[in-house]
Symmetry: D2
Subunit: 346 residues, 4 copies
C-alpha cells in the first residue's frame, strides 16, 4: 500500500483524483490539502462523498503533510507550486503535478507562452512528461511527473501514429478542439456562470492558448523536426468531455482502413486507447467518467487529407484518471488498477 | 458466483444494471437479451462499454437463455412480461422485475390505476416489494422481486419514519416530485427530444400518475391505515436525478433536530440512506451515479408542518442499483457489493 | 414619448428591460445606469445589442440622471435603493422598483422576513404593489410601483380566482415552485456556476424564503383573512422559466371544467393570462421570452383537492416585462405595447 | 400587404418563420400548411403562440392554398418539394424554398452529393441563391429563392471578403463548424433524444456533409476558380447557434486589424453583419433569436494563417430569419422589416 497526499484536493481535478483513489486497492489517501477548507470534511464540500470518504482537509504545512505520504499529487493554483514542490522533492517525495511547470523541455518556450519566469528550472531534469503511452518507461522512476494538459493529451495521441510513421506533412496541421466547462476548474468567473455558459458555444484564446506550445513540443519530438500548428480551443455547454478534430495533409495516397490498421498496431498494447472501426465516430459521452481515449479517422480522398477525431474526458484521461494511471506506473501496479470502470453513458 | 441474465438490457435501466454487474465480484452476467439488437454487441449500442464488456445480445428465447442463468432481471416493455416471467418461474428461475406487475398486494388497485387486467395474479403471492430497507427479510428468499418505482422509493423512504412513528396526520399529505428525463426510458417520443426538453420544466400526469397508488399502498402499510395522497410528478431538463418534496401536518409540536434524530435511529443500519445534518439540503447531483438516498427535513413551526426532502438517482436507487441491492440480498452477499462507488459530483 | 431611465441596467432584470424598451414605440430610454460599467457601451457587456442599442452607461449621479428622464426603473442591489429612491421621489420622478422595499403594506412583516430595518417607511404610502391584474387602477397614478417578485406573481395569480370566490380552505395551502437560474441574478456565486448547476435540481430556503411573506400578504387580501402558507422554491437547470404547483382543499365538490370556466371569467379582460383548456398543462417554455402567464388546474376528486399549475418567465411576467406592463399603465399606453412578441418555443 | 403561405409550417424552420411573420407589418400569413396537423391550430402545437396566432393548418392542396397567397415559403421533407413547387410556379406564385434543390448551379454536383436525381432541373434557371449579401439584386425579382443552408451561410460570409480580395490561398482551407440541435429539425430520431444529446459533443458526416458542395460552389464563385475545402460539422448540446472556425493560409503578411478594416469595408452596407473589434470573439448566444451574423478574425503571424470565426443562429440567419430577409427583398421592403429584434442574451 502506497500512501498518497493530494494537494489542492477540492478543485475539480483534485476531487476527481480523490474519487478514484479512495477505492484504489494499492493506494491509500493519507492527506488531502485544501487551503480554503482546512479542517472541513471533504464530504461537506462534495457531498457525493458523504459516508464514503469523510477525511478532513489539512493545511498546506509541507513538513506536517510530508510525514504522511510518499507521493504527492499537486493540483495547485499557479504561483503556489514553486513554494511547495521543491520542498517536497528535497524531502524525498515524488510528485505528480498538474501545472504547466514540468511539461516542458525548453524553459524558453514555457516562459514565452506562460509570460512568466520559470521558478524551478533545475527541477526539469528530474521531471517526465506524464503521457504513459509515450513515456511509460521514464514515468516509472521519475521524481516529478508533469501530467499533460487535456488538449495536448487528446491531440498528441490522435496524431502520434501519423507523425511517428511520417505519413503526413508537418505543415498545415490544424487542431480544432472543444472542451466541457470543467476544463476551467472550479472557477467563480462570470464567464462560467450557468446562465452565461448554457446554450452557448464559443472559441477562446484563438492561436494563443498555452497548450499550443505543449502540443508543438510533443509533435516535434514525434516527427523529429520542429513543428508549428494551428490550435483553436472552444467551449461547449457541458460539464465534461473533449473532442479534437485534427486535419493533416497526407504525403501519399492511402485509405481510412489502412490508417486504422496502422493506429491499431501503434496502440496495440494500450488498454485505454480505443481505435474505432471504420465509419464509427467518437462522441464525448462514450468516454466521460473513464480513462479511455477514443480515436477514429477519415481520409478525404478528394483532398488527400486525413481528419482525426480523438475524444476523451477532460477530467479523466485529460487530467485526473491519467494522474492515477501515472501513479500506477510509479508504484509498479497494473496501469488499469482503480480505473476499470467504464464511463456512464447517461 | 451467481449467473444472472438481463432481459431488456439495452434500455436505460437495463444498461445501467449491465454497467454495475459487469464488475460485480459475485455475479456474472451470462446473458443479455435485447429484441432490437439480437446478435449485436452491447458495446456497439452503448460504446462506453467498448473493450470493457462486449457481450452480444441474445434473442428472447426463454428456453435457451434459461439454461444460462439462475436469476433474471427483467426490464421489459409492458405486455411482454406476461409472456416471459411465468415461464422463468416455472423453470425455477428467480426474477427481479421492473414493471408495476409485482409491486401490488391488491390486484384491483393495479387494474384500476394501470387500466388493464393483471395477467399473472397467481404470481403475486410469490412476489415481494423490493425495497430492501423495508422488506429485506422477504427479499432474501423471494422468487419474484418487484423492484419499486423511482418515485415510490424516493417518497416512501422520505415519509416512512414519520408514519411508522405516527407523528403526522395521514390526511393532507402532498408529495411534489421532480425527475430527470431518463425516467421516461430510451424513448423516441417527440416530448423527450432534446430541443423540446432542454430549458423546460413541466408537471405531467397531475393526480393521475400510476406511482400514486404504489406510494399509497406502502404508506398505508406503514401507517396501518388506508391513506390517500396528492402526488405530482414534474420533469426537469437533466438526465438523472429525483427529488421529492413532501409535506405533512405534524400531530404534535416538534423540531427539525428531534425529527432528524428519529430518522437517524430509524435508518441507523442502512448504508444507503444518508440523513443530512440540520440545515443541509439534498441536491440531486449528490446522489447521481450511486445507490444513495439523501434525506433532510425542515419543521415549519409557524404551520406545525414538516417538509421532507428526499433525493436519489432515478436510475440508481430508483431503479438499477436498487436491483443490484436486491440481487445482493437474494444471493446472500453484503448489500453494498458492487455498489461502493459514490456518484460523480461532476 | 416618455423618457425613462434604468438604474441597474446591466443585471439580468435590467438588461431585459433594456431589450424590451429599446424598441418601445412610446418610451425612450434616455439613461442607463450601471455602477460597474460607467462609460462603457451596454452592447459591449451584452453583445446581442451591438448595433441595435449602444448607449453608454451613466454613473449613479442622481442629479445628473434625473434631468434625463421622467420615470426611473430601479433594479438595484439591496442597500443602494435607500440612497436613490427618496431622492428621485423628491425630484418628482416616478419609480418602478424591483426590490422588496415597496411591496409590503406592513413594515413589520418586511422587517421580520428581510431581517433588516425598512429605511423608507414613509414612502410606502406612495407605493403600489405592481401586479396589474389586481392593482391596475392604483398603478396608473402611483409615484412608486413595487414590482412583485417572480414567485409571488406566479402563485398569487394562480390562486386568486379561488380565494376571491372563497372556494378553497385557507389552511393547508401548499405552493411548491421551481425557477430557472436567472432568478439568482447575474451572480458569480459558486452555487450558480455552470458545472455546479447543470444536471442538478434542488430545493432551497425551505419554509424561509422571503417571498413567502409577500405571497401571504396578497393571498390574505384576496381571502380577506390572515393566511399562512407553505412555500418551497426549487432551482432547475435552465435559464428562464417558473412553474408553481399549488395545492388547496376545496370547500365543496366541483370539477376541473367548472373551475376553468371560473378562471376564464375572472381573467376575461387580461391579455397576458392564458387559462388552458381542460387536460392541457403549462410548460415553462411556452412562456419564456413573453409576458404571458399560463394557468391550468386539475381537481383531484378522490381528495376534493385542486392542483393549480401556473407558469411564467421569471424574467418576463415575473420581473422585466411586468415592469414594462406597469410602465405602460403609468404612461397611459395600451398594456400590450412593446410586449406583443410571443416567446421563443426553441 | 403581401399574402404569404408557409408550407411545412410546423417544423422548426417553419414555426420560426411563423413567429417572425405574424407581426410583420407588410406581410400577412394567409395559409399555413402542415400535413401532420391539418385542421389543428398551430398554437396547440406550439403553445407559445396561444392567443397570439391561432391559425389552423391547411392540408397540402395546392389549388386551394394557391388562391390564398402570392408567395410561398416551403420547408418540406425531401421528396415532397417536387410535387409542390413546380405547380406553384406554374400558377405564377413565387417561392422561398429551404431544401437543397434550388441552391445549385450545376445539377451534377447536386446529384452527386445528394445521391439522387434532381427532379426539377428546368426550374434552376428561375432560381437564385438566397444569400442577400451576395445576391440581393437577383433575389429581388426571382421566382424561386433557394434559401442557403445554415453552414454555408455562416462559412461563406466568413470567407467572402478574403476570397473576393484574393488574400488567401485557395488550397488548405479548413472549415470546422458546430451547430445546435435544432439543425436536425423536429426529429424523433434516437440520436436527438435529450438523454442522448445533452452533455455530449460529436462530429458527424466528416468530409461527407452535403453542405460541403454548397460551400464549395459559392467560394469558387467568389475566388473565380474551382475550390475544394475540408468541412467538418459538429453537434453541441444546445438548441440554437452555429459557429464556423475557418482556417486559411494568407498569401501575404498582414494583420488582424488590417483585415478587420477590409471586412468592415466589404460589409459596410450590411445591417445584419457585425464585424467585431480586434480582440473580441463571437459567441453563439450573441446572435440567437436574431438575424445577425457576427464575424471576427485572428491572424496567426507565426503561421501566416488567418482564423475566421463566424457565428449566427442556425434557425435565424441560417434559415428562418434569412427567409424573411429574402421575402423583404422580394416584396421591396426594407430588409430589416420585422427583423429588428436583437437576440435574447438569456
Amino acid at each position: 500500500m502506497v500512501n498518497v497526499g493530494i494537494i489542492g484536493a477540492t478543485g475539480y481535478v483534485g476531487i476527481e483524483i480523490v474519487r478514484l483513489l479512495q477505492k484504489h486497492p494499492g493506494i491509500k489517501i493519507t492527506s488531502i490539502v485544501s487551503q480554503n477548507f482546512v479542517g472541513q470534511k471533504v464530504s461537506d464540500i462534495y457531498p457525493t462523498l458523504r459516508n464514503v470518504f469523510d477525511m478532513k482537509c489539512d493545511a498546506l504545512d509541507i513538513e506536517a503533510i510530508s510525514k504522511k505520504a510518499d507521493i504527492f499529487v499537486t493540483a495547485l493554483p499557479h504561483g503556489v507550486s514553486k513554494e511547495v514542490i521543491p520542498k517536497l522533492i528535497n524531502l524525498g517525495k515524488r510528485v505528480v503535478d498538474h501545472s504547466g511547470d514540468f511539461r516542458y523541455k525548453n524553459v524558453d518556450v514555457y516562459e514565452k507562452w506562460y509570460g512568466i519566469k520559470h521558478e524551478m528550472p533545475e527541477l526539469l531534469e528530474k521531471s517526465v512528461y506524464g503521457l504513459p503511452e509515450l513515456y511509460r518507461d521514464k514515468i516509472k522512476d521519475a521524481m516529478i511527473v508533469g501530467n499533460p494538459g487535456c488538449y495536448p493529451t487528446c491531440s498528441i495521441m490522435g496524431l502520434a501514429p501519423l507523425l511517428k510513421n511520417k505519413l503526413i506533412e508537418t505543415k498545415n496541421i490544424i487542431i480544432d478542439a472543444t472542451s466541457g466547462v470543467t476544463g476551467a476548474g472550479r472557477s467563480t468567473d462570470l464567464a462560467y456562470q450557468f446562465c452565461e455558459c448554457t446554450e452557448n458555444y464559443k472559441a477562446y484564446k484563438v492561436s494563443t492558448h498555452r497548450h499550443t506550445s505543449e502540443i508543438e513540443q510533443e509533435l516535434s519530438f514525434l516527427a523529429n523536426e520542429e513543428m508549428l500548428i494551428s490550435f483553436t480551443p472552444h467551449l461547449a455547454p457541458m460539464k465534461r468531455g473533449m473532442l479534437c478534430t485534427s486535419y493533416a495533409n497526407l504525403k501519399n495516397e492511402t485509405s481510412s482502413s489502412e490508417l486504422i490498421k496502422l493506429y491499431r498496431e501503434f496502440y496495440k498494447d494500450e488498454y485505454f486507447v480505443r481505435v474505432l472501426d471504420e465509419g464509427k465516430l467518437p462522441e464525448t459521452k462514450y468516454t466521460v467518467g473513464s480513462n479511455f481515449i477514443d480515436i477514429s479517422l477519415v481520409v478525404d480522398k478528394r483532398l488527400n487529407r486525413v481528419v482525426v477525431l480523438s475524444c476523451l474526458d477532460n477530467l479523466g484521461k485529460g487530467a485526473s484518471s491519467q494522474a492515477v494511471q501515472d501513479l500506477n506506473i510509479m508504484c509498479g501496479y497494473a496501469e488499469t488498477t482503480g480505473l476499470e470502470s467504464p464511463g456512464l453513458y447517461l
